[in-house]
């Protein structure tokens, strides 16, 4: 690779010199603003009010984006922004999972505001370079890279015509280009998308970090909501940050000893407990595949079923055989001893433009395995790994690609689309060759791949309009809500999880709440009030990770040995206290666990109002496809007949004897749909919203989120 040649082709468009701010209690107190239409680079002051009300991370992203756009702004308008922010705790090295960045933008698939979280080194290095957030607005004329040098205080915008677009190549080229030597590579992080992000709406962002032991660039993904598509629409090839000198207290925290002690306590807990609990260090999130299959929760054939006899073929033991275990530090930021990000080395690609090459793959996560694997009826780990690689390098969200392909396969099997429409792709469940070709077409911007790349919602609309598909049936089986493809859990038997997906501000993503065990298995949420309380607490608790720059996994994928004996094991009380201590240790404030929830509530309600401002956010947008609620087809009903017949008897007091399957399905559907509506009522009530899902003025006031511009939006709906 001759990076000198690539670099020689760069043309400097703008340059900005600054004195990097020394961090104070987790904040740089400055943010970086870049406008690519005007080649303008500026700094902004992060105010005390911003820190008080929006905390950081996703909160800062939402606030900056709110100020950047109007209700009419579309995702591909120049005023749309990509905002990246790590949050005040982000970048500490002592507590596992503290390297997260939160990305916010107007989404190509939902049309509204979306947020996505991602690991890798970018967020911490950005902050150590003196910036609490990076806002990128405008559009470049030709492909550019943005380069931030945090040691020398330099930001540049450079035309970069010759670098690759696909992330696995681009990440390597830019790491090589900007590092002074091999040792220096760990100080570089690259944000990029890929060729398919250009031609589809489901593009994602890769955030890199350099794996010094394997001497390879690794990629973590901000997958949801199509932000990679926004990146390429702005003609950004990459955003590169360079910062040398990561140490233990660059955040200049208020109480280093408190932060350190809290971190060491968790390191010890992981050392002693991980082998007995989820074995994250060995298996990563792949451990979930077998579990979900056992509990009938693993999406199979477009969420029709929750398990498959071949589920074992794609579960953890199969992956463990193929993982590379060089060293024992597979964290995506310093100090993450939970080490969930696993690696496959020397994987020989069988298809596509890089066929025959041996590559390193950031090994599939649970969501990817379920999405591109079981949900498409494919139980082949080589396919899943290769699909994962190509999704990553092409800049495609594996969750959206999986759910989308599964939907297309069901449409194909029902004759809604055919070979003529797909250009010869036989998209039956299980056809991995066709699925892979679909992905390659997305990269090339050709054929049916280009059409499919618009996402489930637009495909659904197209099939109804152009191919005369039954609108009701498609509405039922198209697993999207708000325009976003569903994440990979079967929610049919857990009403609380139906709400967890359906009521999420950004779309059906499980990072809002994951309540299936509490609700369906443990039966801990018997009443609507119980479910509403859980759908208040857990989304708020999880939102908080995105405000401060932390990963969710160390919260409950490892727990203290005595956690089961606490009052509320599902909350992991000791870890909640850890987070309170971390926040206070970093910022010097003195919040309680209740304040933590209130911090999230303010930002959560702000995001809700943001949706309203963009023309969404009312009750009708919380509707979900019936496939996520109950059996759509006879095939599904009959496959779990005993369960469903039993429910008719127990819950509805009906005698299924003598009823036709259609009658039984109709009765069950009526019941389940009513339950979902009642759930919405209960949750809105608990959250302090009207029956139409609008935050009440007193709620906003209680949370200190009654900013004039926020109240003005809400008043239009009250």
């Amino acid at each position: 690779m001759n990076v000198e040649q690539l670099k020689a082709a760069h043309k400097l468009l703008a340059e900005y010199r600054y004195t990097p701010a020394k961090l104070d209690r987790g904040y740089a107190n400055k943010s970086l603003y870049i406008n690519l239409s005007e080649n303008k680079i500026e700094e902004k002051v992060v105010t005390e009010t911003m820190k008080e009300k929006f905390i950081g991370g996703k909160g800062f992203g939402l606030w900056y984006l709110w100020n950047a756009v109007t209700p009419e702004t579309k995702w591909n308008d120049p005023e749309n922004e990509i905002v990246i922010s790590p949050g005040p705790i982000g970048g500490i090295t002592q507590y596992p999972g503290a390297g997260k960045s939160l990305v916010v933008s107007i989404s190509p698939t939902t049309g509204s505001v979306v947020d996505s979280n991602v690991g890798g080194y970018f967020g911490p290095l950005l902050k150590f370079s003196g910036w609490d957030a990076l806002e990128v607005q405008g559009k470049a004329e030709k492909d550019v890279i943005i380069f931030i040098d945090g040691n020398n205080g330099l930001v540049t915008i450079e035309e970069s015509p010759e670098e690759a677009v696909d992330s696995h190549l681009l990440g390597e080229q830019l790491t090589e280009m900007f590092a002074d030597n091999e040792e220096d590579k760990r100080n570089i992080s690259v944000v990029s998308a890929g060729t398919a992000a250009e031609h589809t709406l489901i593009g994602m962002l890769n955030f890199s970090f350099y794996d010094a032991r394997r001497k390879a660039v690794r990629l973590k993904q901000a997958g949801r909501g199509g932000i990679g598509t926004v990146l390429r629409d702005k003609k950004i090839k990459a955003i590169v940050v360079k910062f040398r000198g990561v140490k233990g207290n660059l955040n200049n925290v208020a109480d280093f000893e408190k932060v350190s002690k809290t971190g060491i306590k968790l390191h010890k807990e992981i050392y002693n407990g991980d082998d007995k609990q989820n074995k994250m260090r060995l298996r990563g999130t792949t451990f979930l595949v077998g579990i979900m299959n056992d509990y009938d929760l693993l999406p199979t054939n477009n969420f029709k079923f929750g398990s498959h006899p071949k589920g074992k073929e794609i579960s953890a033991p199969k992956w463990v055989e193929r993982f590379n275990y060089t060293g024992k530090s597979d964290g995506c930021w310093y100090g993450c001893t939970l080490s969930c990000c696993k690696v496959m080395c020397d994987f020989e690609l069988k298809t596509g433009p890089y066929k025959g090459q041996k590559v390193i793959i950031d090994a599939p996560e649970y969501e990817t395995i379920a999405g591109v694997g079981s949900n498409c009826g494919i139980f082949d780990i080589d396919y899943i790994a290769e699909c994962n690689f190509y999704c990553d390098t092409y800049g495609i969200d594996t969750i959206s690609f999986g759910t989308l392909t599964a939907f297309l396969m069901e449409c194909y099997e029902n004759g809604i689309i055919n070979k003529e429409i797909t250009g010869g792709l036989e998209l039956n469940f299980g056809n991995k060759e066709a699925a892979m070709e679909l992905l390659h077409q997305m990269s090339r911007g050709e054929g049916f791949g280009k059409i499919a790349g618009q996402g489930v919602r637009k495909c659904k609309e197209l099939f109804i309009k152009e191919y005369g598909a039954d609108a009701n049936f498609l509405q039922d089986i198209a697993m999207e809500a708000k325009g976003m493809e569903y994440a990979e859990y079967l929610s049919k038997e857990s009403l609380a999880q139906q709400g967890g997906f359906g009521l999420a501000n950004k779309g059906p993503q499980h990072d809002e709440a994951w309540l299936i065990f509490m609700d369906m298995v443990n039966n801990q949420l018997p009443t609507f009030e119980d479910k509403a309380e859980a759908l208040h607490y857990f989304p708020m608790f999880r939102t908080w990770f995105g405000l401060v720059g932390l990963c969710k996994l160390p919260w409950n994928d490892i727990v203290p040995e005595d956690n089961g004996l606490t009052d509320e094991p599902a909350k992991v009380p000791e870890h909640v206290q850890n987070y309170v201590d971390l926040f206070n240790g970093v910022t010097g404030k003195n919040i309680t666990k209740e304040d933590l929830i209130a911090q999230s509530e303010g930002v959560y309600n702000f995001q809700k109002v943001f949706n309203l401002r963009m023309g969404f956010g009312t009750r009708e947008y919380d509707k979900v496809p019936y496939r996520s609620v109950g059996p759509v087809t006879e095939e599904e009903y009959l496959s779990r007949q005993e369960r469903y017949d039993g429910q008719l008897k127990e819950l509805l007091g009906m005698d299924p004897e003598g009823m036709s399957t259609q009658e039984k399905m109709a009765a069950l559907r009526k019941y389940r749909e009513e339950q979902y509506e009642k759930l919405c009522d209960a949750v809105y009530e608990r959250k302090g919203w009207t029956k139409n899902g609008i935050p009440k003025l007193e709620t906003l006031k209680r949370l200190g989120m009654d900013l004039p511009e926020v109240v003005e939006v809400v008043k239009r709906y009250l």
Binding site: G248, E257, S260, K261, I264, K265, H267, I270, K328
Partner: protein, 128 residues
């Protein structure tokens, strides 16, 4: 492999080694800044690095290495201060203290062993 070895049955828990260690490396007498620790309850126990090297692979910054004499050492300049090594040390012999941004451990210098009145601690493998 050079390491500080121990005969716990000879230890009288005079704690002199702790004082010497913290004085040598931190210029103060503070048992919490000693790389060797003596517990008296329930039985006398000497905790000190066995130079097993488990922490070497664990360190995300690759700041921990084994030197020519076999002693496991920390390159402070590139240590990212995550203290993973403290939490994962099988002996509990990697330490963190207060505001110190890097962990510390026994490097088998033997200064404490020279002063130990009973010979309960001594340096092994000096020649290699």
């Amino acid at each position: 492999m050079k390491k500080l070895d121990k005969k716990e049955e000879l230890c009288t828990a005079c704690h002199l080694c702790e004082q010497i260690c913290s004085r040598t490396y931190f210029k103060e007498e503070n048992p919490k800044k000693s790389a060797i620790r003596i517990e008296e309850q329930p039985n006398i126990k000497i905790t000190v690095c066995s130079q097993c090297g488990e922490c070497i692979d664990l360190c995300p910054a690759q700041a921990i290495y084994r030197d020519k004499k076999g002693v496991v050492r920390i390159r402070k300049a590139i240590c990212a201060g995550c203290f993973a090594c403290v939490g994962f040390c099988p002996e509990g012999a990697m330490y963190h203290q207060g505001e110190l941004e890097e962990p510390f451990k026994c490097i088998a210098c033997g200064i404490c062993a020279k002063e130990c009145p009973t010979g309960a601690i001594f340096v092994e493998g000096e020649a290699t």
